[in-house]
Amino acid sequence: MNTIANDIRFGIRMLWKHRLASLVCILALGLGMGATAAIFSMAEAFLLHPIPIPDVSRIVALVDTRPQENILSNAVAPATYLEWQQQAKSFEQMGAYGWHEVNLTGDSAPQRIAGFDVTANFFALLGVQPALGRGFLPEEGEPGKNQLLILSNGLWQGRFASDPAILGKTVKVDGKTFSIVGVMGKGFTFPQPVEAWMPMTLTDNEKFDRQSRYIWAFGRLRPGVSNAQAAAEMATLAQRQAHAFPDIYKGWRLRVMPLREFAAGDLTRQYTILLLGAVAFVLLIACADVANVQFARITGRQKELAVRAALGAGRVRIVRQLLIESILLSFGGAAFGLVFARWQLAVMMQHMPPEVAKYVAGWYTIHLDAGAFAFTLCLAVFSGIISGIAPALLTSRTNVGETLKESGRGSSTGRARHRLRSALVVAEVALSLVLLVGAGLLIKGFHALLTVNNASHPESLLSLSMQLPELKYQQPATLLSFQQRLLQRLSAIPHVQSAALVTSVPYSDGGGIGLRTISIAGRATAVHQDQPVAILETISSNYFAMMNIALRDGRLFSDSDGESTPPVAVISATLAARYFPGLNPLGRKVKVGAADGPASWLTVVGIVDDLHYDWIDKNYLPTLYRLYQQSPQNWTSVLLRTDGSPLSFLPAVRAEIAAVDPDLPIFDAKPFDQVITQSILGIAYVAAMMGGIGIIALILASVGVYGVMSYSVSERTHEIGIRMAMGASGSQIQRLVVGNGMLLTVIGIAIGLPIALAMAFGLSSLLFGVTANDPVSFVGLPLLLAAVAFLASYIPARRVLRVDPLHALRYE
């Protein structure tokens, strides 16, 4: 122990003595470890504790998947869930929830909130209780007894000013009176992004519904039952259902997944793992840098190490001492890395808009905690060993007798060292290229998403949404009257060019948009699941002009189309191509829902260009447009084309809406370009982080090339002197040095390119706008790396010009 203390003391002394080299190492390792610690903290928040629920490992989500359509988790229908609940033996309890956004009125300004209908056992099953009040009682799941509300802590604070006497107060929820019975504790936000919970009530019809998939089911495992056992039982139940109702369940497969994994989401997990891989690469590059510095430093201490060996220090002891120095260096890097990580996380948290953060499970729990601290310490030990082991082992093999001679030089280990250092630089360049290409592709994908709908000039469009309460707007005529008055008033606002209605603007709701089943007249579909699907947009006739959606064939909606004229539809080019291949869809009839359903048949009168709706899906989605006068809907969005900054029109818009219905809340009011940006903000973060990681990798790789070339020049001073004495010019020697540096770089690029290409194929399946044959990434970035490496070789090569052959020949 005492001798370890001696080694530590001496190590600190040595690091202090070589302050500049130590600082470079600490900075390199700090960048690597800081990036890793920051991403680890995110991964911890997203993957390990995305939801603050005790004993969460015993709770599983029961979701449906359709692997052939890349649907990894889907809700189930009420009848499916109820059968599971009655028959499954693996669970102590099974519960469910479903989205139910509502308008909150009656107490203050109308507000649209993210509500969820939950089964009465929801809170008990999760093992959480409200901080104020109570959870729901079993009987409160029955119709007529369910007008109760539990508030999230955020809503209680924001809307009700943390009123301690809130319990028992009433509010209007979509026009109906609800009593507040509880307030949840701070931080409980399951399901994300909940603001209020209401009891779930199923009507008799709904209890037998196997087709409307809006129930998210989950269950707490019985003690002693494993995930696998529960999955096996559920698979049997699902199979039984599929046999009984093959039309409905064909193609669907049940997936039993840990609730933690479900809450994190598949995409979050994929991107987090991608980032973890990227920072691991950065850390390896930093370790290679430090190993190179250590080689140079230890080479200068050959004699000291030989003396130690002569005095009885065994190889293990010398390696131990060198590793202690290396680990000390890593601890310095870890300290800097933790500060760097803290800064990164602060910047990230600061720039994330709350309206986006609320959708990311675990976002608000991101911080550098004890776990991250312990992880960084482990990283420090690991990095210290990784970066120090090769120099320590090679140096400890030195011939002691030779080294102790006044001019002794261990030539064989010198060559091995040189080869290893060159290999490290090659590896650094290869890893950096992979990271740079990954970053380049992600940034390009993000840019493609950002500009995909540019034709609509989103910067001058204002978008907002509203839900007309069913109680007040029960009759289609009332709805229509409201919407027509609204459009008239909004269009009359000075500097508003036009106002249009549409169900949902592209990229709203985070880019996720539901597809509806449609039927085509004269075409029977044997199986329910084989029915065509499309995004359903109910619009005003000026929507196409406002969004600059070009007509391809037929006609657009006109003023002559109305409530009393035959119902018509316009379809997108993708819908036409997918469901009418080789046919002319004009004049054909389509219907929303089943062919024998209550909706009217619509005659297709036009085909228009596609809009991109979903950042996850690379392909355009089929879209069916119908006219709002012919199918008035309670839920609608409004778009306004303005002459100025869209947000500056918001007060006037609010006033006009309030003039028509003072109790109607509007929500998601923002410029359309902001709708797009915010929906892809997650990708922006990933792209920005990958960009940052790529830049760090580039810097570290160039430091590596510089270090090796610089050391090589010092090491070869004698040889350079001989060459110069023989008549070599300074530029010839420079070419020799730069040539060596570039050779290593080219080898690194040659190794890195195929790896980057393989990664690009993976990324291209993940994200819109990313292609595996992107010339900028595969030609431009290697050239950039080569240019930086050239510079890093050229700077030490310039020192050659200062070499005095006479002095160099004396140099040993």
């Binding site: 005492n2 002394r13 004699k303 000291e304 003396v307 002569a310 005095l311 009885g312 065994g314 102790l404």
Partner: protein, 235 residues
């Protein structure tokens, strides 16, 4: 151990270096015996194999052939770690270039062999103090080598060689980097140590200093060509 017991015995030791398929015979058929308490000098022209022989004697290197016993134990074919252990416990080194570690204080330099031996801190302290007193450097404990003159540095190196009570001191040109005054002083120090019972094996090409030893061997082209028994030179 018997005062006249054989400490070192070499029979037919040879050393061959291979460099790019060229064989260099550094030592040939070395037969040598050193008894406890002897002060032996190895002399010869540059490149005759003096330092190679000292390296093998000091277990810094191993012979290519022949047999070598140190204190009765065959050591020619020991593993690296066994050689390291014996070097640490039974041999003390004094180098021409002192080979003190510049980043350690005088105290720490002298302490080093004991640290590798696993000696307790208290014992180390006592032994280091004693060794430094023997060479007259106890007042420079906290100095770094760069703060000392060449002669002082070599005295510290002698203290480091002595501190572990080795069976034999191996000195490789101990005065080579010193002026004549400091060189004389170091030679006096070695002679005092010898008078107090130390076994010393010294490489030198300086005949004046070779005469300090009570026995000299001369090497030429890797062979012992002459051996003489000298009367110790008086101060």
């Amino acid at each position: 151990m018997d005062a006249n017991a054989t400490l070192i015995k070499m029979e037919g030791v040879k050393k061959v270096f291979y460099t790019d398929e060229v064989e260099t015979h550094a030592l040939e058929e070395i037969h040598l015996e050193i008894k406890k308490g002897q002060y032996i000098s190895i002399a010869g022209p540059s490149g005759c194999g003096k330092s190679t022989l000292l390296s093998i004697l000091g277990l810094l290197d191993s012979p290519s052939g022949g047999a070598y016993w140190l204190n009765g134990q065959p050591v020619a074919e020991l593993t690296t770690s066994e050689r390291t252990r014996i070097r640490n416990r039974e041999i003390g080194f004094i180098f021409q270039a002192f080979n003190l570690i510049g980043d350690l204080t005088v105290y720490e330099n002298v302490e080093l062999p004991l640290t590798y031996r696993g000696t307790s801190a208290a014992e180390r302290k006592q032994k280091v103090q004693s060794a430094l007193e023997r060479v007259g450097m106890a007042h420079r404990l906290r100095h770094y080598p760069s703060q000392l003159s060449g002669g002082q540095q070599q005295r510290v190196a002698v203290a480091r060689a002595l501190v572990g009570d080795p069976l034999i001191l191996m000195a490789d040109e101990p005065t080579g980097n010193l002026d004549s005054k400091n060189g004389e002083a170091v030679m006096e120090l070695l002679r005092d140590l010898h008078r107090n019972g130390a076994t010393i094996c010294m490489v030198t090409h300086d005949q004046r200093y070779a005469n300090f030893a009570d026995r000299s061997i001369h090497l030429f082209d890797g062979r012992i060509v002459e051996e003489s028994q000298e009367a110790a030179v008086s101060a």
